[in-house]
């Protein structure tokens, strides 16, 4: 009897996850026209406890998407416009001298990094030193300033945008930092039908009425609950092996760091165009992203299809391509697509 009650409660919890997820999507799409997959991947990264890198040409709604998400989730939201003269202290905060009661003392002034949702706009315009100021916060949810560590309040979700076409005077993100983003979301130009809707919804007098999904005081708590629920999704050993094999298949045979073991799945494009493949964080991203997808499908287990669906967003930005790839105009998405097909064929 008690087990039946527990099952009923968990069924309701899983249903609640899907309901909340879909409602957030619906609210975001009141403003964001199209980009359904991008919004879903963004929310998947949020509930999987990761961070997301958003890449898109100017005017495709990157910043708007993140701002709307902050409003819908009803969480504290900060935005940092990365420029070349931005310093790490401008992000993390610094100690300033405050005077009061006849005394002057150093007091820590928190930077914009202290929030729940952080938008790093055009992150590749800042120097690597400034970019690296985000590393500790993203990985460990804490910030160290002048020897003092300050924890960040969960949920903590970094959304960084990249502009892939204006590369003059930019600093491409180092691989170590790219690896810390759970998923990479691509925003392309909207279709004509979507463009018409954008024009009609943004040039009139009416503004879209966005309603927060969570109440102000409970948003962080509810999101953390849902994140824990995602972690409860079970993974069969065969699925874990499938994800591991997919990550191994992104690594070329000639990589010096691979060691003696070679991937059983050979992909010609990987050996030809990839210098370094995905790291173990890539496998973690595959599993976590797949768990969110399983929850949305009201399942407590991951299927092979979940891994394949999330592979592009989880692995593309983790592949370090060589000069041959740039010469042949081969991008990471095509290589990941080949990897997925090869690993699937090896499974069958």
């Amino acid at each position: 009897m008690s087990e039946a009650v527990a099952v009923t409660a968990e069924r309701a919890t899983i249903a609640d996850f899907a309901r909340v997820f879909r409602r957030i999507q619906a609210e975001v799409h009141k403003v964001i026209v199209g980009h359904e997959l991008a919004v879903e991947q963004l929310l998947s990264a949020l509930f999987a406890g990761g961070h997301v890198l958003i890449e898109g040409v100017p005017g495709t709604g990157k910043t708007t998407l993140v701002k709307v998400l902050g409003l819908v989730l009803n969480l504290s939201f900060n935005r940092i416009q990365f420029t070349v003269d931005l310093m790490p202290a401008d992000i993390t905060g610094t100690r300033v001298i405050l005077s009061g009661d006849g005394r002057r003392e150093f007091t820590f002034q928190p930077g914009p990094i202290f929030c729940h949702l952080l938008l790093g706009d055009e992150i590749n315009r800042a120097t690597p030193k400034t970019q690296s100021a985000l590393l500790e916060a993203m990985a460990e949810l804490q910030v160290t300033v002048s020897g003092t560590t300050y924890p960040l309040a969960p949920p903590y979700f970094v959304m960084a945008t990249l502009n892939p076409i204006e590369m003059e005077g930019t600093y491409p993100l180092p691989e170590a930092q790219l690896d810390r983003f759970l998923l990479k979301v691509r925003l392309g130009y909207p279709a004509e039908r979507e463009l018409v809707r954008i024009i009609s919804s943004t040039t009139g007098p009416d503004e879209a009425g966005i309603e927060p999904v969570f109440a102000a005081g409970e948003a962080a708590h509810r999101i953390e609950e849902l994140k824990r629920l995602v972690r409860e999704v079970m993974v069969a050993p065969a699925i874990e092996q499938y994800a591991a094999r997919m990550v191994r298949a992104t690594q070329p045979d000639n990589a010096r760091i691979l060691g003696d073991e070679r991937s059983p799945v050979k992909v010609d494009a990987v050996n030809r165009y990839v210098s370094f493949g995905a790291s173990p964080r890539g496998a973690q991203a595959l599993i976590l992203g797949a768990k969110v997808r399983a929850m949305l499908d009201a399942r407590a287990n991951i299927a092979y299809e979940d891994i394949e669906e999330v592979a592009a967003a989880a692995l593309e930005h983790r592949l370090m391509l060589n000069y041959a790839a740039h010469s042949d105009s081969v991008d990471a998405s095509a290589i990941v697509d080949q990897v997925v097909r090869a690993v699937r064929a090896a499974r069958d």
Binding site: E10, R11, L229, P237, R299
Partner: protein, 384 residues
């Protein structure tokens, strides 16, 4: 019931392909049938579209996972039990690979009565007294086609004059009909081979004369040697592969090749390999006995060594010079430096190339009577 050779060949190839495909399918099925419970669960997941529920339950059940969703997963999977019942996962009682066997058995059952009936009623070819050396064949059921030049004659046919006359008529009909599909295919194959060889040898490639079948009379060929003379039935006749005929005839000539010199018994109809006809008679060790051609070849050989002044002078050539084919003899010692000790070296095959019918025979210089006053001058020229 006998199939035409071409149909038989095509049918055999088709059956072989089907058998290979069936074998591959059977091996694959057997490999997949090497079933483990985990594999069975995965297949059931796939066929029932359970998205891995069953396999996850089976894999995690031995060590209960520390997840609050485990009861939910069990109930969720159990709720879908109707979708992975055996009757829905594997609705067939028999493997599909059995159908091929059943089809073969049905086909055999259909054909068996006809085969038995033909065996009992006697076929077109029957062995006399059970001996395979003596076979009586119905002339109306014979499938006549040119002999493969690569094959040696392996049968002798004995018949009365009327039968041979009918056989001759049949051969004429076959020749008029173009020899059938297989014969055309062989003609095309020979043409292709000739064109390739012509490219290798540098000869101009052109349309090859068609393969001709003909009867020859060995008895009258001894002495008279009149080509193309068809003896009346009762004399020895020979079917000849036409591929080598082209080597004996000048371009555009419709004359049959020269007769054989040997004289087997009458009423003998011997299939003769065309390759022997096409060979240089000097190389056939006198088997065909064309002495005139052989001596002509010898003359050409002696005159061919024109750089030796000692062979320049002599009696004028009275015989016909030249030959309608030539031979390339390779006398080089085989050497294979790459092979190890004890490894037999590569022995190059002897190359005999039939002359192109459109090419004029390579005739050596004929001897002529040289005045004694000019002999010294000519000798000096060749000694230079």
């Amino acid at each position: 019931m006998y199939l035409d050779p071409l149909v038989f060949l095509a049918t055999g190839v088709a059956f072989a392909l089907i058998a290979l495909a069936g074998s591959a399918t059977a091996v694959r099925s057997a490999w997949r049938g090497r079933m483990t419970p985990m594999r069975a669960a995965a297949i059931a997941d796939q066929r029932a579209d359970l998205k891995g529920r069953l396999a996850t339950v089976y894999a995690l059940a031995p060590n209960l996972p520390n997840s609050s969703l485990w009861p939910y997963l069990i109930e969720d999977t159990y709720g879908a039990r109707n979708s992975f019942e055996p009757s829905r996962i594997e609705p067939r009682w028999l493997s599909q690979s059995v159908y091929a066997l059943l089809a073969a058995l049905v086909l055999a059952a259909v054909l068996l009565p006809r085969v038995i009936a033909e065996r009992l009623g006697g076929g077109a070819i029957t062995a006399q007294g059970g001996s395979p050396d003596a076979i009586t064949a119905d002339i109306n059921d014979l499938d006549i086609r040119p002999a493969d030049p690569a094959l040696a004659p392996n049968a002798e046919i004995y018949a009365d004059a009327a039968t041979l006359q009918r056989l001759q008529e049949r051969m004429a009909q076959e020749q008029a009909a173009g020899g059938g599909a297989l014969s055309k295919l062989m003609d095309r194959a020979r043409s292709l081979a000739g064109a390739l060889q012509g490219k290798i040898d540098g000869r101009p490639s052109g349309p090859q004369p068609p393969v001709r079948m003909h009867l020859t009379d060995r008895g009258s060929a001894n002495g008279s040697g009149a080509p193309g003379s068809n003896k009346p039935p009762g004399n020895q006749a020979k079917t000849d592969g036409g591929g080598a005929d082209t080597g004996n005839n000048p371009p555009g000539s419709n004359q049959p090749p020269p007769m054989e010199a040997s004289s087997p018994p009458d009423d003998e109809l011997a299939g003769k390999s065309g390759s022997q006809q096409g060979m240089n008679p000097a190389d056939s060790k006198g088997a065909d006995g064309d002495s005139s051609v052989a001596s002509g070849s010898a003359q050409g050989a002696s005159h061919g060594s024109g750089s030796d002044p000692s062979d320049l002078f002599g009696d004028p050539s009275a015989q016909r010079l030249g030959n309608d084919s030539f031979k390339i003899a390779i006398d080089a010692e085989p050497s294979d430096e790459a092979s190890g000790p004890g490894t037999p070296g590569y022995l190059p095959p002897k190359v005999r190339v039939a002359i192109n019918p459109q090419q004029y025979p390579d005739e050596p210089l004929a001897r002529a009577l040289v005045p004694p006053a000019d002999q010294m001058t000519i000798k000096r020229v060749f000694e230079r």
